[in-house]
């Protein structure tokens, strides 16, 4: 073949896999339209509605004592639930990924349970467990501990709902990495804790951070289970999602959307951080595969 012909062929790269330009255009358009309708439009509506009565109403809605207390409660619940699930999640993935024991697959299924069960059902489970007519209820009452319709109930329900996030993120990662680095550390004389903190944890740090972020997003946004156990006491047991519903039901749409925008902002920040981490995480994962 002449050099000119070779050069000409190089200039028009032939798509080996894939559809023609028209099909591609249609497919991309359909995907974008769907994305816009289902995701972007609702998000925009939240912010448009929030500012529909002007900035003053918006700030007023945020400054309401009930909103502030709901925000505080939401942050408090997340501050308890996320670290708790961080510890549980790391422990569960460590056990499942690095050791063989009877009932391993059962435990794996159990971790997925909160994903499979409707959040409302999860909430009802705790009502049945801690309610006045339950086995634990009277005993707790005698001890003077209020679980249902109080902060402990909300925390417990949130922990239950967000349990899988950290573990689900870590288990495949740890399984893929295998145990040989840990075996090397142990043969070099390192004890269990040293091996965990110097070898295992650094290897999963990005995945762990990612799992914690998702866990946090869900802990702040959880509605169903928390709704059942909270009792909706304004200023006391209302988290942000519950507060939004109450405002909306009271025909305070602008206020409801204002608070919703706050929650949406939290989600957007989480997503932005997650995307940044993913870029970082993908790099280090690729490096590990190269290794």
């Amino acid at each position: 073949m002449s050099e000119a012909a070779t050069a000409a062929r190089r200039k028009t790269p032939r798509q080996v896999i894939g559809e023609g330009p028209r099909t591609r255009f249609v497919l991309i358009a359909v995907a974008l339209a769907f994305l816009g309708l289902m995701l972007i439009a609702p998000l925009l509506v939240v912010f448009i509605e929030a500012f529909s009565r002007g900035l003053g109403v918006y700030l007023e809605a945020l400054a309401m004592p009930d909103t502030m207390s709901a925000l505080q409660l939401t942050l408090l619940v997340a501050a308890i639930a996320v670290p708790a699930n961080l510890v549980f999640g790391v422990a569960a993935s460590w056990a499942i990924a690095k050791f063989d024991f009877k009932g391993k697959s059962f435990l794996l299924t159990l971790i997925d349970l909160p994903f499979a069960v409707s959040p409302v059902v999860s909430g009802l489970i705790f009502v049945l467990l801690f309610g006045a007519n339950s086995v634990l209820g009277p005993w707790l009452q005698d001890m003077g501990i209020q679980v249902l319709f109080a902060v402990p109930g909300i925390v417990i329900a949130t922990i239950f709902i967000t349990f899988p996030f950290v573990a689900r993120e870590l288990i495949p990662l740890m399984q893929q990495q295998g145990s040989s680095e840990e075996e090397a550390a142990v043969s070099l004389g390192a004890g269990g804790w040293r091996t965990f903190f110097l070898v295992t944890l650094p290897n999963v740090k990005w995945g762990l951070l990612y799992g914690v972020l998702l866990c946090n997003a869900r802990a702040m946004g959880e509605f169903g289970a928390v709704s059942v156990v909270s009792g909706h006491i304004r200023g006391q047991t209302n988290t942000l999602p519950l507060h939004i519903e109450i405002l909306y039901n009271d025909n305070k749409a602008a206020a409801a959307f204002a608070v919703a925008s706050l929650l949406a902002m939290l989600a957007l920040v989480t997503l932005a951080v997650k995307t940044m981490l993913e870029a970082r995480f993908a790099g280090s994962l690729a490096a590990q595969r190269r290794h």
Binding site: E183, A184, S187, A190, G191, V199, A287, Q288, H291
Partner: protein, 373 residues
């Protein structure tokens, strides 16, 4: 330090990975565990290291039962096939890991640094201490892994297919280099490999394993020259196998196409194992085993010829000089000048090496007919 494994058995899901295996590695010895995948060699190595727990049997380090000490205190340097370097640590920190993990007579940071530099010098990687494992080639990583294992001054060095993931040339270099390090440091060393060339070249003693049992434990020369079992014969080097019948002190095939003197072997079915060098082509018109050439291929300075002989068209491979013109479908005669016959004895196999002179007495004139089938 002497390592002794006694009557080790280990089962995975009902399958025996190790079946009553006993092995002694003398102090300062360099021993290879050689076998195909699934032969239990890695399981044995990991059991000695303490990374696996045997179902039964005891591992002794000198005269001390290893089960009494934690794996951290065994003083075993273990090198993994895929290096298992700590990915997020620099080379320097990888090598220093074992020194820093020490409980007793901890070293000062300056001493650790000095020791790491000495080790880097030993494994010829000076100047790379700041690199991360992902910035090293496979051969360099494995040398870091070895330096890391040597850092704790192990009483025993165990290597699991240390060169398995490397390409052929790097493997050869590292092999020679490991031998040098062994001679310099004198560690009792046990390594696992499926590469016979590696085992025969590197080790003082080769332990051939198959299906969870030790088939033979001997020097490289003995392994090659007097393989104890048919498995060892066929696993080491090239071989052709022909089923023969032993009777009256002779091993025969098909109305004496092959007829060899075998001395004391018991009567009954037996296997004739031949290496390419155990066969010579008959060029002087004398008697030989008639065969039909089915393929020839060039291997280095020789031509590897495959012929079929006998009723069942048994294949025999042998080497002819490259310049000898041999074509497919050509008829020729060959002569057995070595090889081994394995007969079923009361204890495993009875084997006899064939002498070069035992090639006499071919009924080759009669055998001519076999080619006209």
């Amino acid at each position: 330090m002497q390592v002794r494994a006694e009557h080790i058995s280990k089962h995975y899901a009902g399958l025996a990975a190790l079946d009553d295996v006993s092995l002694t590695v003398a102090s300062g010895e360099l021993v290879a565990l050689l076998g195909p995948s699934g032969s239990g060699k890695t399981t044995l190595l990991r059991t000695i290291a303490g990374l696996e727990v045997a179902d039964s049997g005891v591992v002794y380090f000198n005269d001390r039962d290893a089960a009494q000490s934690r794996i951290q205190d065994r003083g075993v340097g273990f090198v993994f096939q895929h290096y298992a370097l700590f990915k997020h640590m620099r080379v320097m920190d990888n090598i220093a890991f074992g020194l820093r993990a020490r409980k007793r007579n901890k070293l000062k940071e300056a001493e650790i640094r000095k020791r790491v530099m000495e080790l880097l010098d030993l494994v010829q990687l000076s100047g790379l201490e700041k690199r991360f494992p992902s910035q090293l080639s496979g051969g360099q990583r494995q040398r870091v892994a070895l330096a890391r294992a040597l850092a704790i001054e192990p009483s025993v060095l165990l290597l699991d297919e240390p060169f398995g993931a490397l390409d052929a040339r790097v493997r050869k270099d590292l092999r020679r280099w490991l031998r040098e390090i062994h001679e310099r440091t004198g560690h009792t060393t046990l390594f696992v490999t499926h590469d016979q060339e590696e085992a025969l070249e590197l080790a003082d003693r080769v332990v051939v394993m198959n299906k969870g049992k030790i088939e033979q434990s001997a020097t490289p020369d003995e392994i090659y020259d007097t393989p104890a079992t048919p498995f060892v014969f066929s696993f080491i080097g090239e071989s052709s196998v022909i089923p023969v019948v032993v009777g009256n002190g002779r091993a025969t095939l098909d109305e004496r196409v092959i007829d060899l003197e075998v001395g004391t072997l018991p009567d009954g079915p037996a296997q004739l194992y031949l290496r390419p060098e155990d066969i010579a082509m008959v060029t002087d018109g004398g008697p030989g085993i008639p065969g039909l050439v089915v393929s020839t291929r060039r291997i280095g300075g020789m031509r590897r010829v495959t012929i079929e002989c006998g009723l069942a068209r048994h294949r025999i491979e042998f080497d002819a000089p490259a310049e000898t013109p041999i074509a497919n479908s050509q008829r020729l005669q060959v002569r057995v000048i070595g090889g081994r016959v394995y007969g079923a004895g009361s204890e495993g196999y009875e084997t006899e090496k064939l002498a070069a002179s035992a090639t006499s007495d071919f009924k080759w004139a009669k055998a001519e007919g076999w080619l006209d089938r």
